[in-house]
C-alpha cells in the first residue's frame, strides 16, 4: 500500500478507514477522526487542544496504532500488539465522558482512602496542560471550570495521592498543599520515635479534611468559588491556603520558604515549613471551628485566627522544632504567620475568596523573617513572630472598618460558609 501523504502531514481525513498506509511511529501529526464521539475540539470530552495528536476512535482501530488513552475503552494491558500502547495521548485527554453525577460521590472518613470510593466516570480533564494547542484562551471560562470540576471528580474517585498541588491551564490553584509521601513518612517515623503519634495522626487528618473540603468546593463550584477561581486563572489574586502544625518535639522539615514571585510556580507568598504538632491542645482541634481555647498553651497567631484558631507553630530552622505553615497571601501584605516556642497549634487559613470551609485570613506568612516582640521562648524567632504589638494595618483591621456582619463572624464560634469576612480580624479579637 502506498503511504498516505496526508497522514504524514497529520491531516488524513479517513483515519483508519484510509486506503493508504498509515505508518505507525511516523509523524504523529494526528489524523482527526470525524466520528469521534467525544466531539469537537473545544467542547468537553477532552478534545480541547489536542490539535496535533492522533485521535483515532478505538472502535475503528485495527490495532496498528497507538491508541490515545483518552478515547480508548480498553485498558492499558494491551501490550501484546505492537501498537497497543493505549495510554498515549498528547496532553493526556480524558476518556469518554458519561454523565457526571455529583450525587454519586460520597466519602466516609474512616480510612482516609476509603473515602475515595468508586463513582462514575473518570479521566476527562486530563490535559497535561503542556501543549501549545491547549489554547486556554479560546475556551470559555465555563469550560475551564468544568474541566476543573471533572479533574476533581477523578482525583477523588481514583485513590490517588491527595496531598498534591494541582494546576489547570498552567495556573496552579490555591488550596492544595504539596506534600510528598516521603515527607509524610518521615514525619511518621520521627513522631513514632518520639512517642507522639497522635500529633501526626491529627496533622494528617487535618490535611486530609482540608484537601477533601477543597476538592468538594471546586466540584460544587458555588459562585464564590467560581469567581475566585476565575480570578486565579486569569492571574489576579494570589492566594494560598494554609495549614500549619506546630511541634514541640522538633520533628521538623525544612524551613519556610518565601514567595514564588513567578506565577508559573504557584501562588506567591506561601510560606511553609513542616512539622506536626504534638501539643495535647490538638485533641480538641480536629474541627476547624473549635475555639482557640482548645489551644491552651498556644499563643495565638496574630495574623489570623480563623474561626478561633490560635494558630501557632514554632518554626525554627535552627532548633529542632520547625513548623509547617502555609498562609494565605494577602494581596497587600505579607505577615508573619507564627513564631512560638513551645506552643504548638494549628493555624488554618484559607483564602477568603475561596469561601472555603476554613477561616478566612488575609495574612500571609512569607515574612518569616519579621521578628518582633518575643513570642515563644525559643530562638525560634526564625519564624518571625508577628506579635500583637505589630498589628499594623495590613495585618488586622481596626474594628471601625469592619461591618457588623463581619464582626459577628469573627465573634462567632465558627465561620458561616459564604459569609467569611474578607478582611483580617481586629487585633483585639484574637485570643492570646
Amino acid at each position: 500500500m502506498p503511504v498516505c501523504s496526508f497522514f504524514l502531514q497529520g491531516r488524513c481525513r479517513y483515519g483508519d478507514k484510509c486506503w493508504n498506509e498509515h505508518p505507525r511511529g511516523g509523524t504523529r501529526g494526528g489524523g482527526y477522526n470525524d466520528n469521534r464521539s467525544s466531539g469537537q475540539q473545544q467542547s468537553r470530552g477532552g478534545g480541547g487542544g489536542f490539535g496535533n495528536r492522533v485521535w483515532v476512535n478505538p472502535s475503528q482501530q485495527k490495532g496498528a496504532y497507538i491508541q490515545p488513552s483518552s478515547f480508548s475503552s480498553h485498558g492499558s494491558d494491551d501490550w501484546g500488539r505492537g501498537g497497543g500502547g493505549s495510554d498515549w495521548g498528547r496532553g493526556g485527554g480524558g476518556g469518554r465522558r458519561d454523565n457526571l453525577k455529583s450525587s454519586e460521590f460520597s466519602f466516609s472518613s474512616q480510612n482516609k482512602f476509603s473515602a475515595l470510593g468508586t463513582s462514575n466516570t473518570f479521566d476527562r480533564g486530563g490535559r497535561g496542560g503542556g501543549s501549545g494547542g491547549v489554547s486556554a484562551g479560546d475556551e470559555d471560562d465555563d469550560k475551564k471550570l468544568e474541566i476543573i470540576q471533572m479533574d476533581m471528580d477523578i482525583w477523588e474517585s481514583s485513590g490517588q495521592w491527595g496531598f498534591s498541588c494541582y494546576s489547570s491551564f498552567k495556573t496552579p490553584l490555591s488550596g492544595f498543599t504539596d506534600l510528598s509521601p516521603e515527607e509524610l513518612r518521615l514525619e511518621y517515623y520521627s513522631t513514632r520515635a518520639s512517642g507522639d503519634l497522635q500529633g501526626y495522626l491529627n496533622g494528617v487528618n487535618q490535611l486530609l479534611s482540608q484537601w477533601k473540603n477543597r476538592v468538594q468546593e471546586l466540584k460544587i463550584m458555588n459562585p464564590a468559588t467560581r469567581a475566585a477561581l476565575l480570578a486565579e486563572l486569569n492571574g489576579a489574586a494570589p492566594q494560598a491556603s494554609s495549614v500549619s502544625f506546630g511541634s514541640t518535639t522538633g520533628s521538623g522539615f525544612g524551613s519556610s520558604m518565601s514567595s514564588f514571585g513567578n506565577k508559573d510556580f504557584g501562588a506567591p507568598a506561601q510560606a511553609r515549613s513542616f512539622s506536626f504538632a504534638s501539643s495535647p491542645g490538638f485533641g480538641s482541634s480536629a474541627a476547624p471551628s473549635s475555639s482557640s481555647s482548645g489551644f491552651g498553651n498556644t499563643l495565638a497567631a496574630p495574623t489570623q485566627p480563623p474561626s478561633g484558631f490560635g494558630g501557632s507553630s514554632a518554626p525554627s530552622s535552627t532548633s529542632a522544632a520547625s513548623s509547617f505553615s502555609f498562609a494565605a497571601a494577602s494581596t497587600d501584605k505579607p505577615a508573619a504567620a507564627s513564631g512560638f516556642g513551645s506552643a504548638s497549634g494549628f493555624s488554618f487559613s484559607s483564602t477568603a475568596n475561596a469561601g472555603g470551609g476554613f477561616g478566612a485570613t488575609a495574612g500571609s506568612s512569607s515574612a518569616f523573617g519579621q521578628t518582633s516582640g518575643g513570642f515563644g521562648a525559643t530562638p525560634a524567632a526564625a519564624a518571625g513572630a508577628g506579635s500583637a504589638a505589630e498589628a499594623s494595618d495590613g495585618l488586622f483591621s481596626p474594628e471601625s472598618k469592619l461591618t457588623q456582619d463581619e464582626l459577628n463572624q469573627f465573634k462567632a464560634k465558627r465561620f458561616t460558609l459564604g459569609q467569611i469576612p474578607l478582611k483580617p480580624p481586629p487585633a483585639n479579637m484574637l485570643m492570646v
Partner: protein
C-alpha cells in the same frame, strides 16, 4: 548458561532460586529475588558503572541502611556490605570509577562510602533531608550534587566540608537526574528546573510543568548521538511527560502519557490512579521503564509511543528501579511507598528486590514500514 547474557531462557531460571510458592503474588513475574533485602522500604537502587567489572547493586532503605550486593552472572546475589545512616536513606549513587558510593539521607547528611575499605565519611550537610544525590563528572571538575527539602541544590567537592556552590530553588527538591552536561531537578509545587553543568553548574531554564500534579520522579534521556536531550517526568497522577529541551516542534514532540492506572475499559467505574514512583531509561535501547504504586512495572518506547510490556501486579507498590550498565538486568524493588498513608504500613511485611533479564523485552518496537 548465563542468565544475564543476551537471550536466555530466563523464565526457567527461577526454579530453585526462591521457594515453591505457586500463587504467590509477591513475585508474580517470577523474577530473581535478591538475598538479604533491607528490612524497610527501599528508596533507591543503583547499579555499578561499566568501569567496574561485574555488577554490583546498591539499595538504600528506610531502615537507615544502604546495602551492596554482587550480582553474579548466574543470577545469584551475594550481599557484600552495608553502611548505616542515622536516618532513612533516600538516594544513592556511584562515582564514575565505581569505587565509591554516595548516599543521601533524612539525617541531612550525605556520605561517601569507599567500598574497598568499607569506610564511610560525611561529605555534605544540608538543613533538611537530602532527597537526591548525583555524581557529576565534568572535564574540568567532579563533584557531588545534592538536592534537599531545604530548597537548595548544593555541589560538593568531597574533600571539603563546604559546598563548592549552592543554588537556591523555589521549592523542595523532589527528584533529580544528571547526565552531563545536563541536570534536571523537579521540585514541589510543580517546579521544574534544568541546569547546565559545563564549566560550572548554573541554572539553564525553568520549565512550565507539563503535568498538573505533584512531580515524583524524573529521568533524562539521550538522543542518538548519546547527548542528553530531554527528560521523562512522572507524577503522582499516573502520568509521565516526555519533554525535549529544544525540540524542533514542541507541540508535537512533547507529550504525556498515562500509565499505572487500573483497567479503564469499563467507563462506568472510575479508574484507580497510581503514582509513578520511578523512571529508568535503558542505557542501550533508549526505551524506558516506569514503576508505580500499583505494583506493576511497564516498559515503553517513547519514540514509537507504544507500550512494550506491563507486568503482573505485585502485592506491594514498586518503589525503585534501575538498569545495569549494559541494560541486561532490570532491578526493581517491591515495598510500601506510603501512597496510602500510615494505615497500610506493615513493618512486618517483607520487602523485595527483584532482578529481571532486560535484554529482550526492552527492544524498541520495529517500525512497520
Amino acid at each position: 548458561m548465563s542468565l544475564f547474557g543476551t537471550s536466555s531462557g530466563f523464565g526457567t531460571g527461577g526454579t530453585g532460586v526462591f521457594g515453591s510458592t505457586t500463587t504467590d503474588s509477591h513475585n508474580p513475574m517470577k523474577d530473581v529475588e535478591v538475598t538479604s533485602p533491607p528490612d524497610d522500604s527501599i528508596s533507591c537502587l543503583a547499579f555499578s558503572p561499566p568501569t567496574m567489572p561485574g555488577n554490583f547493586l546498591i539499595g538504600g532503605s528506610w531502615a537507615n541502611d544502604v546495602r551492596c550486593w554482587e550480582v553474579q552472572d548466574n543470577g545469584q546475589t551475594v550481599p557484600k556490605a552495608q553502611q548505616m545512616h542515622t536516618g532513612p536513606v533516600l538516594d544513592a549513587c556511584w562515582s564514575d570509577d565505581g569505587s565509591k558510593v554516595f548516599t543521601a539521607s533524612c539525617d541531612k547528611t550525605a556520605k561517601m562510602w569507599d567500598l574497598n575499605s568499607n569506610q564511610a565519611m560525611q561529605i555534605a550537610q544540608h538543613d533538611g533531608p537530602i532527597k537526591a544525590i548525583h555524581w557529576i563528572k565534568a572535564p574540568n571538575y567532579s563533584c557531588i550534587m545534592t538536592g534537599s527539602w531545604d530548597k537548595t541544590l548544593k555541589f560538593w567537592d568531597t574533600r571539603s566540608p563546604n559546598p563548592m556552590m549552592s543554588l537556591q530553588m523555589p521549592e523542595r527538591c523532589y527528584c533529580a537526574d544528571v547526565v552531563y552536561p545536563m541536570a534536571v531537578v523537579a521540585t514541589a509545587e510543580r517546579g521544574l528546573i534544568v541546569y547546565q553543568l559545563e564549566n560550572q553548574p548554573s541554572e539553564f531554564r525553568r520549565i512550565d510543568s507539563p503535568l498538573k500534579h505533584q512531580h515524583r520522579c524524573v529521568a533524562i534521556f539521550k538522543d542518538k548521538q548519546n547527548k542528553p536531550t530531554g527528560f521523562a517526568l512522572g507524577s503522582i497522577e499516573g502520568r509521565v511527560a516526555i519533554h525535549y529541551i529544544n525540540p524542533p516542534n514542541p507541540a508535537k514532540d512533547n507529550f504525556t502519557f498515562k500509565c499505572h492506572r487500573s483497567n479503564g475499559t469499563n467507563t462506568t467505574t472510575p479508574q484507580d490512579i497510581y503514582a509513578v514512583n520511578a523512571i529508568s531509561f535503558h542505557p542501550v535501547h533508549g526505551t524506558l521503564a516506569t514503576v508505580g504504586s500499583d505494583g506493576r512495572f511497564s516498559f515503553w518506547d517513547k519514540d514509537a509511543r507504544t507500550k512494550l510490556k506491563t507486568s503482573e501486579q505485585l502485592d506491594q507498590p514498586i518503589t525503585a528501579c534501575c538498569f545495569n550498565h549494559n541494560g541486561n538486568i532490570f532491578a526493581y524493588a517491591s515495598s510500601y511507598d506510603w501512597s496510602k498513608g500510615h494505615e497500610y504500613y506493615n513493618p512486618q511485611k517483607k520487602n523485595y528486590i527483584f532482578l529481571r533479564n532486560a535484554a529482550e523485552e526492552l527492544k524498541p518496537r520495529n517500525k512497520k514500514w
